[in-house]
Amino acid sequence: MNLDWSPESEAFRARLVAWLDKNLIPDWTRRYATPESLVGFQRDWDRRLFAGGWAGIWWPKEFGGSEATLEQRAVYAQEMARVGAPDGLASFGRIFIGPGIMKFGTPEQRDLLPPILSGEAVWCQGFSEPEAGSDLASLRTSAVRDGESYRINGTKIWTTRGHLATHCLLLARTDPAAPKHKGLTAFLLKLPCPGLTVRPLPQINSKSDFNQLYFDDVRVDATQRLGEEGQGWEVALYVLGHERGAAMALRGTMNMEQTLRAWFAGGAGGPPSAAFMRSTVETVATRLLAYKIVSEDDGRSKGGQSGPVAKLFWTEAWQRMAEAAFLETGVGAQADHKAAPFADDIASLFLDSRRVTISGGTAEIQRNLIATRLLGLPR
C-alpha cells in the first residue's frame, strides 16, 4: 500500500497551496455574513480562480483548461476542502455544463465556454422535477416545437443557484410518445427570460441555494438546443457522469474531520467514546476509498467502479458521526447552535449532513448501482 501522491501531483499541490495562501481569506464565512456580501465574495472568487489559472483545470487545453489528471483533481478537491474554499457561483458551469457544451455543442454554442471559465456566466441545471427525482427520465416539462423555436412549459426543482444564474441547462420532453429516455432534449437557456419565475427554497441549513423554476410558455430558439432532439438523456448522463467520486469523498473527509474536531472540543473531557473512535476509523476509511478510486484510474479519468461505494460510505458515515456527536454533546450542541450559513457547530453540521445521502444520487440509488453494476446482480 502506497499512500503517496505522484511527484507531479505534489508539485501541483504545492503551487495550489501557495496560491491559496495568497488569495483566500481564512475567515471569509464570518466576514461575509449577509447573502448579498456572500454573493459578491463568491463572484470575486470565480474571477480570482480564473486569473490564477485554477478555473476548469480539468478542461481540455483547447478550451482554456490544463487537462488535469484524476489524481490532480483529487488533490485540488482535497486542498480546496482543507482551507474551506468557497465553490464560487460558476462551479456548475465549470464542472458539469462546460464539458457538456464541449461534447455536444455547435461551434456557436461553444462561444458560451469562455464566460463559464472566467466566472462571468453562472449556470444552473434544470433537471429534477417535483415528480421526477431519482426517476429523472420520467420528467414532464415539455418543449413543443413551434416554427424556429420551442415553447417550454413545466417546473423544475432543486435548481442550485437558479436565483443567481445567467444561464440554464434545461432537460425537457420533446416527444411524449417515445419511450421515456428517448423523448428528452437538452436546451441552453439565457436567463432571465419571459415566462420564467424563480422561487428560492429556504433550507434547514440556513442556506438558500435551491430554487423551484416555473416555465410558462418560455420561448427557446432552436439554435439553443444542445445536441439533437431525443439526445437529451445522453447529454444528461454525460454531464452528470464525470467521475467525481474521489473529489467528493475527499471533501467528505474534510467535513468529517471538521465534525470530529467540533465533537472532541465539545466533549466533557475524558477519553473519547466508542462512537467517536468508530468515526475516526470511518474518516480514514473514506480517504482510503478516495485513494482507491484515484489508484484505479485507467488514465481516462473514469475512476473505475468504486465511485458509488465511496459515495454511499462517506455520506452515511458522516451522518452517523454527526448524529452521534449531537447526541453525545446534547444540550451543549443546542446551546452553541448558530442558525447561519457555513456555521460549523455540531448542530449545524448535523443538519447539513442530512442532504448528502439525497443529493447527487440518493443512497438507495447508490445501493442499486453497487448491487447491479458492481456486484453483478440481475435487475
Binding site: 499512500l3 489524481e71 466508542a274 475516526t280 442499486n368
Partner: protein
C-alpha cells in the same frame, strides 16, 4: 499511489487457496500448509508480516479448520521474549486466562489485558474448561493456582501482529461469504425470479460489501503502520480497526447467513462454518467497545486526534 496489497501477500493468499482447495481433511490441510512453510513464518519484519497476512487471508477464505494465527503468534512471542514453547492468550475477568489453540508442550503463556501483558508458567495454571465453537480452534480456560504470580512484560509487538492477523483472516472470511452469497442470489429462484432481483436483498448485500470493503482498507492501513509509524499510534489504530472490522464483518456474516434462508441453518451447508470463523475472530480480546476504549487512550488532545486521523504522507508502507 497504490492501494493493492503487496505481491508477497497476494501470492501467499493465492497459494494457500490452491493448497486448501478440494480438501476438507484437517490433516491433509495441515500437511500442505506445513510444506508451504506457513507454520515457520517470522512475522516480526515487514516482509514476514506480509507473508503471514496472505496466509491467514487464504485460511479465512476457506474457513479451513486450522488456527494458523496461533502458530504464527507463538513464533512471534518466542522471538520477542526469547522463550521456547510459548503461546498467546487473553486475561479474563476474575483473573482467569484463555488460550486459543494451545500447542502441545506449551510451557508459558502471554496473557494480554487492558494495561499490557502477563507471563504465566503453564504449571502455575489449572485447566478450568475446554471447548470449541469454531473447527480447528480449541479454546481453554485456566485459573492461576493459589499463590501463583505472573511476571509483567512489554509485548506490544505481539499484540499488534495478533490484531493484524485476526483482522486479515476475519475480513477475508467475510469477503468470501459475500462472494458466495452473490452466487446464491443470482441462482436461487423464488416467485419466478432470481432472489437477487429483489431490491431489499440487493441493498443488504450492497451494504455488506461496502462495509467490508471499507473495513478491509482500514485493516490494510493499520497493519502497514506496524513497521512505519510510532508504536503508540499503530497499536491504537489496530485496536480501533479491530473493533470496526469486527462490527462490519459480523454484520456482513449475519446478512449472508440470512440471505441463504433455511438451508443456512443446516450443519452440512457452508454458511455456519464461516459465521463461526467470523464471530470467533470478532470476539478475540473482547467486544468491539472494549477495543475502542483501549484505542481511545491514544487521543488525549486535539493534536493526538490530528495525528490519529492523518497519514504521515511520506513513507511507502509495505
Amino acid at each position: 499511489m497504490d492501494m493493492t496489497r503487496s505481491e508477497t501477500e497476494r501470492t501467499a493468499e493465492d497459494g494457500v487457496l490452491r493448497l486448501l482447495a478440494n480438501t476438507t481433511e484437517v490433516t491433509v490441510a495441515i500437511e500442505r500448509l506445513a510444506d508451504f512453510g506457513a507454520f515457520d513464518i517470522d512475522a516480526t519484519d515487514a516482509e514476514g508480516l506480509a507473508l503471514a497476512l496472505g496466509v491467514v487471508r487464504g485460511v479465512g477464505r476457506t474457513a479451513a479448520p486450522i488456527d494458523i494465527t496461533a502458530g504464527i503468534l507463538a513464533r512471534v512471542a518466542g522471538g520477542v521474549t526469547g522463550l521456547p514453547a510459548i503461546c498467546v492468550g487473553h486475561a479474563l475477568a476474575g483473573g482467569e486466562v484463555s488460550v486459543a489453540s494451545m500447542p502441545e508442550g506449551a510451557l508459558t503463556v502471554i496473557a494480554f489485558d487492558d494495561s499490557g501483558a502477563s507471563l504465566w508458567e503453564i504449571g502455575d495454571l489449572e485447566l478450568v474448561a475446554k471447548g470449541g465453537f469454531d473447527a480447528g480452534c480449541e479454546v481453554t480456560r485456566w485459573r492461576p493456582r493459589a499463590g501463583a504470580q505472573a511476571d509483567r512484560l512489554h509485548a506490544a509487538p505481539v499484540a499488534m501482529v495478533r490484531l493484524a492477523l485476526v483482522d486479515a483472516e476475519m475480513i477475508a472470511a467475510a469477503e468470501e461469504m459475500i462472494a458466495r452469497t452473490l452466487d446464491h442470489l443470482k441462482t436461487r429462484m423464488q416467485f419466478g425470479r432470481p432472489i437477487g432481483t429483489f431490491q431489499a436483498l440487493q441493498h443488504r448485500i450492497a451494504d455488506a460489501h461496502v462495509a467490508v470493503q471499507a473495513a478491509g482498507l482500514a485493516c490494510d492501513y493499520a497493519a502497514a503502520l506496524i513497521h512505519v509509524d510510532d508504536a503508540g499510534k499503530a497499536l491504537a489504530w489496530l485496536r480501533a480497526c479491530h473493533a470496526y472490522s469486527a462490527e462490519a464483518a459480523t454484520r456482513a456474516a449475519q446478512t449472508c447467513f440470512q440471505l441463504h434462508g433455511g438451508m443456512a441453518f443446516t450443519a452440512e451447508f457452508w454458511p455456519h462454518r464461516w459465521l463461526r470463523r467470523v464471530f470467533r475472530l470478532a470476539a478475540d480480546g473482547g467486544p468491539p467497545e472494549r477495543h475502542y476504549q483501549l484505542a481511545a487512550r491514544y487521543i488525549r488532545s486535539e493534536d493526538d486526534l490530528g495525528r490519529f486521523i492523518t497519514h504521515s504522507g511520506r513513507e511507502e508502507v509495505p
